[in-house]
Symmetry: C2
Subunit: 163 residues, 2 copies
C-alpha cells in the first residue's frame, strides 16, 4: 500500500470519556520531536492546520500564558480561532484553551499529549473539556470529525515531507 493510500484510510479514534469531554486519538508515522514541532512551530502549523485553506498565524506565543490566534481563509469565509496556553511541556504535553470567533465565550480546554508509539511513530491524544454537555454535543454535531481527519491527513503529508 502506498503512503498516500494508507493516509487516506487512517481515521482518528473519537470517544466521549465523560459527558463534557471528547477524546481524539491518532497515530502519526513520525518521531515525537517532529510531531511536536509540527504542532508548535508557526511555519509548520500554517501548512496543515487549515486543511489546505490559507491559514494566517497571527499569534503563537508558545509559553505558559502565551496567546495563540489563527485565521483560516476558506471557501465559506474567514474564521478566527484563538486561545491561551495553560501548560507547555515539550515534547510531551500542551494544554490550551480554544475558542472560535463564531461562538465567542464558548471556550474549550484542550489537553494534547504526545506519546512514543514504537517504530518511530507517535500517538497524539487530544482531550477537549467543555463547560456543559450541551456545548460538547453541539461540537459533536458540527461535523468536526470530518474537519479533524482532513487536518490530520494534511499533517501526515507534512510529516512525510519533513522526513
Amino acid at each position: 500500500m502506498s503512503a498516500s493510500l494508507k493516509d487516506a484510510t487512517r481515521k482518528a479514534t473519537l470517544t466521549t470519556p465523560s459527558d463534557r469531554e471528547i477524546r481524539v486519538e491518532r497515530v502519526f508515522d513520525a518521531p515525537r520531536d517532529r510531531v511536536w514541532q509540527a504542532f508548535t512551530d508557526p511555519k509548520l502549523v500554517a501548512q496543515w492546520w487549515g486543511r489546505g485553506n490559507k491559514l494566517v498565524i497571527e499569534r503563537l506565543e508558545l509559553e505558559k500564558g502565551g496567546h495563540w490566534r489563527f485565521v483560516e481563509h476558506g471557501p465559506d469565509g474567514v474564521h478566527g480561532f484563538e486561545g491561551r496556553y495553560r501548560e507547555v511541556t515539550p515534547p510531551t504535553r500542551l494544554v490550551n484553551t480554544f475558542e472560535w470567533d463564531g461562538m465567542p465565550g464558548y471556550v474549550i480546554l484542550e489537553t494534547v499529549t504526545f506519546e512514543e508509539a514504537g517504530s518511530g511513530r507517535t500517538k497524539v491524544v487530544n482531550t477537549s473539556l467543555f463547560y456543559t454537555t450541551e456545548e460538547r454535543d453541539g461540537m459533536l454535531a458540527s461535523g468536526m470529525e470530518g474537519g479533524l481527519n482532513e487536518g490530520y491527513a494534511a499533517l501526515d503529508r507534512l510529516l512525510a515531507s519533513m522526513g
Copy 2:
C-alpha cells in the same frame, strides 16, 4: 446611619448552587440603568473595579465576541485580567469569560444579571462557572470574598456620586 457606614456593613451573599459554580448576589442603591453603566462604561469601570488601585482598561469592546482586558496596579504588583463577551443584553444580562494572567487557561464563564429590586434599587447576581470543582474550590480559598466586597463597596460610592 450614614451612607458610608451602611456600605461598610453590606456584604454580598455568596452561595454554591452546584459543584462547579459560585453565585454572588448583591443589592445596590441605584436604578438599573445606572448600575449597568457602571459595569460597562470603561470610564466608570476604572473607578471601582480595581478597589481603589489604579486600573488600566486596555480593552472593553462591549458586544458579542468583543474582548476585554483590565490591568490592576496594586501594592503587590501588576495583575492582568481578560476575557470575551458571549452575550451583551443591556440593561439586564452580560455573559463573559474571565481569566487572570496568574492562572492562564483557567477560564471562568461569568453570567451577570441586573434585576430591578424596587425603591430604585438593583439586584446584581453574578454566577461563575468553572471547568472543574477543584478550580471552583481554588477560587473560594483565594480570598475572593474580601476583594469582591471591597470592589462592591467602591461601586456603592461611585453609584452614590452618580446620583
